[in-house]
C-alpha cells in the first residue's frame, strides 16, 4: 500500500533543481520506480515517509549519451534497456552493457535507470562493478552547484550515498579506454532467470607482452558496497601473467574481502566462491 504523496512531473532539469532546492518535505526523485515503489509497498524506512516525488521521465537532458574527446557522458535517466541497445556504449563499455542486460527482468530493465541503480546503492546492484572498473565519476547538480565526484567515493554504506537532498545525478562520466583492454563481467545468481546477484565481478585488463600494465577488478554483493580492489591491482602491475599469478590475485581479493567484511553468516560460502569465480573469470579473459 502506498502512502499519500505529492507527485510532480518535471519538464526539465531546471525545474527539478528548483524543486529540490526548496523542499521542506521529504522528497525523492522517481524515474523507473523499480526501487521506490517496492520500497513504499514494503514500508521500507527509506521510502515510507516520502512526501513528494519528482518524476524525471520527461527530462530529456537526462536521457542522452554524449561523447567528447576523452569521455562518454551517460544520462542518469537511461534505462538498462537503453544501455543494452546503445551502440556507442556497447563499443566503448561492453562490461557495462553486459551487466545491464542481467539486471532484473526485461520488464524491470525497461523502466529501471542507471542513475537509480547508483543512488539506491544496493550491495548487489549490477551496474556498479563495471562502472567502478571504468573509473566512472558522477556529475551531480543542485540549483547552485555542479560538481563531479568519483563513483567509488560516492558509494558510502549500503543504500546510502553522498547525494545531498537538493542534488541529482545528471550524468555518469566515463573516460574512454585509450588502449586495447580485455575484460568481462560475471554474475552469479541463485537461479538463471531474474536473479539478485549472489556476487558479481568485473575485470578489465591491459597487457603488453604478457605483462600486466593495468588491471582493474571490482565486485558487487561481496562487501557492504560495490568495491574496487586497488591494492590487488597495484600488486599486479608489471607482473608476468601465469596461472600462479592469477591464483595469487584471486587469493588476495579473498583476503581483502575478509578484511573488509570480517566473518559474516555468508562468509563460509562467499569467500571461497569469490576466489574461485575471479580465477575463472581471469582465466577466461586471458586464456581464451
Amino acid at each position: 500500500m502506498l502512502n499519500n504523496f505529492e507527485f510532480i512531473k518535471a519538464k526539465n532539469l531546471e525545474e527539478v533543481l528548483q524543486l529540490l532546492s526548496n523542499s521542506s518535505i521529504k522528497t525523492k526523485i522517481i524515474s523507473g520506480g523499480t526501487d521506490v515503489i517496492p520500497g513504499m509497498m514494503q514500508s521500507s524506512s527509506r521510502f515510507s515517509n516520502v512526501k513528494r516525488l519528482i518524476d524525471i521521465n520527461a527530462v530529456s537532458e537526462l536521457e542522452s549519451v554524449k561523447e567528447t574527446n576523452n569521455n562518454v557522458l551517460i544520462g542518469s535517466g537511461l534505462t538498462f534497456t537503453d544501455i543494452v541497445g546503445n551502440e556507442l556504449l556497447n563499443q566503448e563499455f561492453p562490461l557495462l552493457c553486459k551487466a545491464s542486460s542481467k539486471v532484473g527482468s526485461l520488464q524491470i530493465r525497461n523502466r529501471a535507470t542507471i542513475g537509480g541503480n547508483i543512488v539506491n546503492n544496493a550491495p548487489c546492484a549490477d551496474s556498479l562493478s563495471p562502472l567502478l572498473c571504468y573509473d566512472a565519476s558522477l556529475i551531480i547538480q543542485s540549483k547552485h552547484l555542479r560538481k563531479q565526484i568519483m563513483l567509488k567515493d560516492f558509494l558510502q554504506k549500503p543504500y546510502s550515498t553522498l547525494l545531498g537532498d537538493d542534488e541529482i545525478i545528471t550524468f555518469i562520466q566515463i573516460p574512454k579506454l585509450r588502449k586495447n583492454y580485455k575484460g568481462d563481467f560475471y554474475k552469479l545468481g541463485r537461479r538463471r532467470g531474474v536473479a539478485i546477484s549472489r556476487l558479481s565481478l568485473s575485470v578489465l585488463i591491459y597487457t603488453e607482452n604478457n605483462i600486466i600494465k593495468d588491471l582493474r577488478i571490482a565486485g558487487g554483493a561481496i562487501a557492504p558496497v560495490a568495491i574496487r580492489f586497488d591494492e590487488v591491482e597495484n600488486f599486479s602491475t608489471s607482473k608476468k601473467i601465469n596461472k600462479d599469478l592469477l591464483i595469487t590475485l584471486s587469493q588476495k581479493v579473498g583476503k581483502t574481502v575478509l578484511d573488509i567484511t570480517g566473518l559474516r553468516w555468508s562468509s563460509d560460502y562467499k569467500l571461497p566462491v569469490v576466489q574461485q569465480s575471479l580465477y575463472q573469470l581471469l582465466r577466461k579473459i586471458l586464456y581464451n
Binding site: 514494503q42 537461479r191 553468516w265 562468509s267 560460502y269 571461497p272
Partner: protein
Amino acid sequence: MKKDFSIVGKEVIRQDGLEKVTGTAMFADDIVLKDILYGVMLRTTVVHAEIKSIDFSEIADNKNLTAIITSEDIPGAKKVGAIKKDQPIFCFDKVRTSGDVLAMLVGNNEKEIKKLLTKIKVEYSELPILSNSSLAMNEDAPVIHEESSNNLICEYPLRKGNVEEGFKNSDYVIERSYSTSYQEHAYIEPEAVIAIPLEGNKGVKIIGSIQNPHTTRSVAASVLGWPLAKVRVEQAELGGSFGGKDDTMNVLAARASIAAVKCNRPVKIRYNREDSILESYKRHPYKMKYKAGFNVDGKIKAMKIDIIADGGAYASMTPFVTWRSVVQATGSYEIENVETNVKGVYTNNPYTGAFRGFGSPQPVFAQESLMDEIAEELKISPFKLREINGYNSGSVTASGQILNSHEVTLKKVLAKASDESGFNDKWEKFSKDRVQKDFIIGSEQREKEFILDKEQFIEPENVWRRGIGLSCSFRGCSLGAEGIDAASVFVSLQNDGSVYLHSGLAENGQGLRTTFSIVVSEVLGIPFEDVFYLGIDTGYVMDSGPTVASRSTIMGGGAVKDATEKIKRNLLDVFIENYNIPQIARVEFTNGMVTYDKYSMSFKDLCKLAYNKGVNISAVGWYAGPNVDWDEEKGQGNAYFTYVYGCQVAEVKVNITTGEVYIENITAVHDPGKVINLLGAKGQVYGGVTQGAGLCLWEELNTIDGKIKHQNFDELLIPTSKDIDNIDVHFVEGEEEYGPWGAKSLGEPTLELTSAAISNAIYNATGVRYRNLPLNLEEIVLNRKLSPASVKRGSA
C-alpha cells in the same frame, strides 16, 4: 475395452482457454459488487504467547471503520480443522504461530482501514517458542495446544515381517538421514474471497479462489452455526492451488461470512503476497532416518524408517499427509521386512498441509537417494538395483497389499526412461569422468582459514560437471483408506444435443473441465464444443469430496462416464423403438450421428425425439472407489485400490566452484493409465517436474524462531523460464479396470520424483551425496545449511 477413440487421448484445446487468453476470465478479485466492504487482518507480532488484551479504543470511532470482527462475533465453532478442530478463525486465548490473526477490521476503504491496524494495542504474555520438530516430543517441550498433553498430531506404525531378523540376515546395513524443507505453493493468484449476505433467510453466498467448495461450505456453516444448505459456495476462476487453497481459504471464507452477516453487506478479503506467504500453510518439512539391510546380490532384505513431519501450529491435513508417507515410504520395491514409524508433531512454525504430492515428495527424495547409496555400496548401477527390487505384478507392498488388480508397469517406465535418456551409458561415463577429491572448497578445514590453497583452484575445464540420475515411484490413486471416496456429477442433455455438465469436483487450472467434457464427447460421439461445463456451485451439485490426491480423472471422470452412459441407454431405447430394430443391436454413436445398419439419425434429432417423447435425458453419475482397508496397529492393509508408476531421469551440470546446478533435461515417464487429453497430460508433467525441481534446488523458505524470512518473490525463488532447459515427456499406458477407460492419476507423481532424480544426478556429477533439501548454492558448496540468523530483509 474400447480401443478406437474419437477424441480420448488426442490433444484437445482446453474448454476454458478463450476467457483466459483474452483476460476475461473472472478470478475472485475481478468481481466487483456494489456496497462492498473489505476485511483486513490484525496479525500477531509474536510467535507464541497468551493474549492478555486487545485494545481497539483508539480506532473505535474512526469513520472508515464499519466493524471490528473478533472471535466474540462467532456464533458457531470458534475453531476449525479438516481432522482436528484446532485452528481458531480468530485467535482468542493464544497465538501459536507467526501467521495468526486476532481480529479483522471491516470498512469500505481498504487502504484507510489498513492504516488503523497499527493503532490497535495488543498485550501478550510470551511463551517459549518450539521451532525444532525433533524436540517437539521432549518432556520439557512447550505444549502448543493445551487441550493435549503433548505435541503429537498423529503417529502411524507399519510392521511387516521381522526387521531385526532381516538386518541380521543382510550382508550390508547402512543408515542415512535425510531432510526436506518447507515449500510454498506459490500459486500466482493470491487468496481472495467474497461473502455475500442473501436476502431474508437464504443465508450467505461465498465466491472465491477456493479449491474445495464443499469443504469451504462446511467450515463456513460450522462457524456461522448454520445448516450446510444455508451456505452456498461458488468457485471463482482459480489462479492456481496445488493443494494450497483449502484450509486457508476455508478460514478466510468463514471470516468474510461472519463479517458479511454482521454488517449485512458483501465483504471481500484479498491478500497480497506477503499476507499469503505469512498465513497460508506449506509443504511439511520432514526429517527421515532410513536404515537398510541388503545382500551382495542387490536384494534389499529389511528397511527401518523413522519420520518426523513438522505439522506447525495446526493439524490441518497432517494426519492424511503422513499416512500416505507410511504407505509409500519404502518406495516401489518389494521388501520382506519393514518397520516404519511416521509422526506428525505440532510446533510454533507455520502450519503445513496439503501440497501436490501430499506426503510423497519427501520420502521419495529420501528413499530414492538411499537406493543410489545402496547401489554405490554394492558397486552396481542404480538402474540395476531398481530392476532387482522393483515391483512386478503380484508383488506385495510394505502394507501387505498384493498388486494384482492392475498392470504393474514399474519396470516398463524404468526401461522407457532409461532408454529415452540413454541412462546407463551416460551414468557409466560420468561416473568415470568424475575427478575425485578435488571437490573440497568450503569443507571443514576451511572454517577457520578462508583463503584457498593453490591446489584448490579448479581448472576451467573441470568447473562444470555433468551427471545423470534417476528415481522411481509408485503412488496410490485417490484418497485410499484416508477418506470417503466417491464423486458425483450431473449431466443434462438439451433437446438440441448440447450438454450441461455439473461436477462436484473443481477446476483448479489442471484442466478438469476439458477432461470431463472429453469423456461426455467420447461416450455420445458428439463434438467436444457441444459440452458446457458449468462452474462449481455447492447449490447445484453433490459433495464429491475434495479435488485432491490426483483423483479427479479417475473418480470424477468415472462419474461423468457413468452419467453419460445412463443417458445414452435412454437414447438407445428411443432409437431402437423408433426404427423397431432388435434390442441387442450394435448402435454406433459417432460424429454426431447415431447409426445402426441402414438406420441413421443425427444425435440432435435423437435428443429432440427423446425430449418430445418425455424421456429423461439427464442423469446423475456416481463413482465410488472399491473398498480399501487399513489396520492402524500394524499398518497393514489394501491402502489404495490402485496405483500408478513413474520414473524420471535428470541430466544436470554442476558448477563445482559456485554450487550452481543447471538442469539440462528431465525425461519423465509416467503411467497414468489411459491418457484422456494428451495436451493437458503433458502440461501436468511439465508443471509438476518444474515444481519438483523448485523443491530440490531453489525454493528456500526459512523460518527463524517460527518467523518466515522469505515473504515475497524477490526472496522466495520459484523456477523461471530460464532454469530448466528441456523436459521430455513419455506416457506408458498400463491396463486398468477402474476409472474412465482405465484413466488414473498424473498430477502428483510428476512432482514427487524430480528432487531425487536431480540429487542423484548431482552425485553422479560430483561424487558428493546431498541429503538435505533444498540444494541451493551454499548447500552444494558446503554440504550443509547456511542461512542468515535474522529475518531482516535484504541482508547479504
